[in-house]
């Protein structure tokens, strides 16, 4: 591991100053960053431990639920309001990692975690995400667990976060702050597909710190669930996952929101596809049309072709469970 300076600022202003140092990187729970540093994938010169910043609270303001960036994955999963109104978020969190990791990992760190593509994590292989322009080893390598949606010629790595999939379904925002001030980014715009710049995974700018996650109108979800299909029963990343919720909302005529995980380079959702569905008429034909639209642009390889029927089955199971 490379040498680095460790600092633990106690105020936002001090943290912003620390982040101005060359090669500075934010450290929160550390479960992802420390691992990637051991692998040599991340080589920060300064680790800015933000754990002393006042960003742990989970609170309600108006119709929105605000989750502090430093709340642990366990705290959020077990929070009464999350369990009552946002089962899909709680289930997504509890389906990820292990209790030990969920206790340490922060909620913003969960969103910031890097892909699990084994070529990205092994510095002896070319990887456009890790070393832009070096080539993608997964395109011609073992790519069974890679993406079929949002792919590019440069990268087919899957977005790893279960939480992100569930938050995508409920139109969450990521709030960020820097010395220039604050802004909020819709989750659907926070994550960026690889395109020709696979090294860029999100729209966070240098010097910005995620401060909290906002879930607007969080009481409007009547029923919701997170269905995760994976290679073993627990402690494994998703092969395919579905986050879905039914909405009681006169303006949206009892609709259903759905996001897919395990298949995309980013959490995958299509409002156009959702517009074809209503809770009252979830027949197999309606769901099939929805699946067709949602995965219209799928780019399967021989090893990943199984993901399409697997995702369709998972979507049907998840939605039928909600509207039954």
């Amino acid at each position: 591991m490379n040498e680095f300076d460790y600092v633990r600022p106690s105020s936002m202003a001090a943290a912003f100053r620390c982040l101005e140092r060359p090669g500075a990187k934010v450290l929160a729970g550390g479960t992802s960053v420390s691992d990637l540093m051991k692998l040599g994938v991340e080589q920060p010169c300064v680790l800015v431990d933000i754990s002393a910043l006042p960003l742990k609270d989970i609170s309600v303001n108006g119709e929105s639920l605000y989750i502090g960036a430093l709340a642990s994955n366990s705290e959020v999963a077990m929070h009464p309001l999350v369990q009552q109104h946002l089962s899909l978020v709680s289930e997504a969190l509890l389906s990820g990692a292990s209790t030990q990791i969920r206790n340490a990992a922060s909620i913003a760190g969960n969103l910031m975690q890097r892909t699990r593509c084994s070529y990205f994590r092994d510095i002896s292989f070319p990887c456009n995400k890790r070393r832009p322009g070096s080539g993608c080893s997964a395109l011609k390598g073992v790519n069974t667990y890679h993406a079929i949606l949002g792919t590019s010629e440069q990268c087919i790595a899957v977005s790893p976060s279960d939480l992100a999939v569930s938050l995508c379904a409920v139109d969450a925002y990521v709030h960020v702050e820097s010395v220039q001030g604050g802004r909020r980014i819709a989750l659907s715009k926070f994550f960026t597909a690889p395109g020709v710049q696979p090294q860029i995974e999100n729209s966070l700018r240098p010097g910005e710190i995620v401060t909290f996650i906002e879930i607007p109108d969080f009481r409007r979800y009547r029923r919701s669930a997170y269905l995760k299909v994976r290679a073993r029963a627990s402690y494994e990343f998703a092969t395919v996952s579905v986050a879905a919720a039914t909405i009681d909302d006169s303006s949206r005529s009892a609709g259903i929101v759905v996001a897919l995980g395990g298949v995309g380079t980013v959490p995958w959702r299509s409002r156009q596809a959702e517009a074809t569905m209503q809770q009252e008429i979830c027949t197999d034909a309606v769901l099939a049309t929805f699946c067709d639209l949602l995965m219209r642009d799928a780019d399967c390889r021989p090893a990943t072709a199984f993901k399409l029927p697997m995702a369709r089955t998972a979507i049907m199971r998840c939605i039928k469970g909600l509207v039954a």
Binding site: F4, R8, G30, S34, L39, Q100, A104, S234, Y235
Partner: protein, 153 residues
């Protein structure tokens, strides 16, 4: 870079200057001499290094010790000993919940934390909540039985 740290380990205050790259796991084993906590994968995938940090189970291999400064750490050495074993340790012995024993300290620390976490205690739920601790000897069934017994006490 050296960092000054100060933490409480098994009730004792420990002060040290450490290289910022030192993990809590290596600090416990190499600096403090507490070798009960095991280094399995060193990448957060096996659970052998599980300890309690401020009362919650976490993986010591994924924590830089500098980041645990001012915190309370409890290791396998802190919960009991041969003459006064923790109830979980007694149950592990009674149910033969190990073979080679390498994962056992992590399993026990995880189980000790599980007792405080509440929730469902079916065998299936225990397996799920212990899924972060891998046992290559496959003693899972007896581990679940040991935990089930302590939970029923």
């Amino acid at each position: 870079m050296d960092v000054a740290i100060n933490l409480i380990i098994n009730g004792h205050e420990v002060e040290a200057m450490v290289d910022s790259r030192t993990t809590l796991l290596d600090f416990l084993r190499l600096h403090v001499g507490l070798t009960g906590t095991k280094k399995g994968c060193n990448h957060g995938q096996c659970g052998a290094c599980t300890v309690l940090i401020d009362g919650r189970r976490m993986l010591s291999c994924l924590k830089f010790v500098a980041a645990t400064s001012d915190m309370k750490v409890c290791t396998i050495e802190g919960i009991g000993d041969a003459s006064h074993p923790h109830p979980v340790q007694t149950a592990f012995m009674k149910h033969d919940a190990f073979q080679c024993g390498f994962c056992t300290p992590g399993q026990i620390m995880s189980a000790v934390a599980l007792l405080d976490e509440g929730g469902s205690y079916t065998r299936e739920a225990i397996r799920e909540r212990m899924s972060g601790n891998v046992c290559r000897c496959g003693a899972y069934s007896n581990i679940v039985s040991a935990i089930e017994e302590v939970l029923s006490q």
